[in-house]
């Protein structure tokens, strides 16, 4: 795997699980859209995903990493790229291990 300096600086630098989260998210995107995305690609650029899809990402991150995304964290820029989502999960202290502890709404 080659990493760009951007990814190294933003995602990989914040925790050892970062590549794992990024890979999982890229897999989620690929499964959902049946096309491949770059970790720094703007998902909501012209011709990209809708705000409905952004909310799917909110729910996916909550379910997968056991975090609650509300208040000031609920902004589109936090879901704009895979890198941004990795940063958000780290900031909220999320991990796959903590996911089992939180039920749905």
């Amino acid at each position: 795997m080659t990493q760009t300096s951007d990814q190294a600086g933003s995602a990989a630098g914040t925790g050892q699980d970062a590549p794992g989260i990024a890979d999982e998210l890229l897999g989620f995107l690929a499964a959902r859209t049946k096309s491949t995305w770059e970790h720094d690609q703007d998902l909501f650029a012209v011709g990209g995903m809708s705000s409905l899809f952004a909310m799917q990402l909110v729910v996916h991150l909550e379910k997968t990493y056991g975090v609650t995304i509300s208040g000031a964290d609920l902004m589109l820029d936090n879901f704009r790229t895979v890198d941004a989502m990795v940063r958000l999960v780290h900031k909220l202290g999320g991990s796959r291990a903590s996911a089992g502890a939180t039920a749905g709404e």
Binding site: R32, K34, M55, Q56, S70, L74, L76, T102, E105
Partner: protein
């Protein structure tokens, strides 16, 4: 067996309470355009108008599925009252999503304590296109100032708190405005087509000054994600409410077709009438399954809940509009006066094809989903 029945009965206390409370008064509420404020406050104080609120905030902590069944029950009784539930529940949900922890702790318990709330999205120039919002929320030292005009806000005529979406200097957000604040004017819409007692009102906000923390923490560059989040709850609630409309219409039409005779036989034995009954059952079952599916996804925390909610809303609202028209056709003159279950359903269901994402907007979202997931 008897134990299971008793448990089931106890679990249905909210339904029984609403049935007793509405009684035969839905027709009167429809004709007068008013539900007594004490009635709404009493339901609110029991947590029944926003039953998914967690216990920590004084709520009943219902699942989406459980709250949905209750919403359908109320929808079959009175769509105006169900619309009040939709608004109150959407306000509570918006606070849980957009408010910071301190804001939630201060505000959400008020919605389970008897105060009533409305969520104001639409403006004269911003209906389906909420990116065109013009209401302004401006910071001024320790305060925010709100200026704008909202239209067709459900529950606003009853509300103590208004959750108002608007533009901030940085983008978009929502502010919680007490209905009694200086500069707020609420004008009840006196002649709505349907849900006539749901407290629809236009709101004027002229230089309304509030403490800065009235602006919810969820502020974004565009309103898209904030509004989509808030509306998701509203769509679930409208979907279940429309399923209730279909259940009310199916019962009324089947009873009438069973009881009335024409040309020497029961109406139900006339094949063209029987077809209406079949179509009503198909619509009711289809809407029920779509709602159950969406609620189960919601309760699991599945990302598929987002499109499932749009689909359920669309299936239920269009089904209710067509189904109610069929029910009026079956009951004919017996159901053709204002206040009758099917007459109300006919008018109420039509409005449900317009709010929380019109049928056309729902179709566009579903089409876009189909395109985005086709690869």
């Amino acid at each position: 067996m008897s134990e299971a029945t008793a448990a089931g009965g106890a679990d249905r206390w909210p339904e029984e309470l609403f049935t007793d409370l509405v009684g035969d008064r839905a027709a009167e509420w429809d004709r007068t355009g008013r539900i007594p404020l004490d009635t709404l406050r009493g339901l609110g104080a029991k947590g029944l108008l926003c039953a998914q609120v967690p216990a920590a905030h004084g709520g009943l902590a219902f699942s989406s599925r459980r709250n949905g069944e209750l919403t359908a029950h109320v929808g079959a009784l009175c769509s105006s009252l169900r619309s009040v539930m939709t608004s109150q529940g959407m306000a509570a949900w918006t606070l849980r999503r957009l408010a910071g922890a301190g804001q939630q702790a201060a505000l959400v318990p008020r919605l389970t304590g008897g105060e009533l709330a409305a969520v104001a999205f639409s403006e004269a120039g911003a209906g389906s296109d909420l990116s065109a919002l013009r209401t302004r929320i401006t910071r001024d030292g320790d305060e925010v100032v709100v200026d704008g005009a909202k239209v067709w806000t459900t529950n606003a005529a009853y509300a103590d708190l208004l959750v108002v979406f608007g533009r901030t200097e940085d983008g978009a957000g929502a502010v919680v405005v007490p209905a009694t604040a200086l500069g707020v004017r609420i004008e009840r819409i006196t002649d709505p087509l349907g849900c006539r007692a749901a407290g629809h009102a236009d709101i004027r906000l002229d230089g309304v000054r509030l403490p800065a923390d009235a602006l919810l923490d969820g502020v974004d560059r565009t309103p898209a994600l904030l509004v989509t989040t808030a509306l998701s709850y509203g769509r679930m609630s409208v979907a279940w409410g429309c399923t209730g409309i279909l259940r009310g219409c199916l019962t009324a039409a089947a009873r009438h077709a069973n009881a009335r005779e024409q040309f020497g036989v029961r109406l139900a034995e006339h094949q063209l009438v029987a077809r209406h009954l079949a179509e009503l059952l198909i619509a009711e079952q289809g809407a029920s399954r779509a709602c159950e599916h969406a609620s189960e996804l919601w309760d699991e925390g599945s990302p598929d809940m987002v499109t499932a909610a749009v689909l359920a809303k669309h299936v239920a609202a269009t089904g209710a509009a067509r189904g109610a028209a069929r029910a009026v056709q079956v009951l004919a003159s017996a159901g053709s006066r204002d206040g009758h279950t099917v007459a109300r359903a006919h008018r109420d269901a039509k409005l449900m094809e317009i709010i929380e994402g019109s049928s056309e907007i729902c179709e566009l979202m579903l089409a876009r989903h189909a395109l985005a997931t086709a690869g």
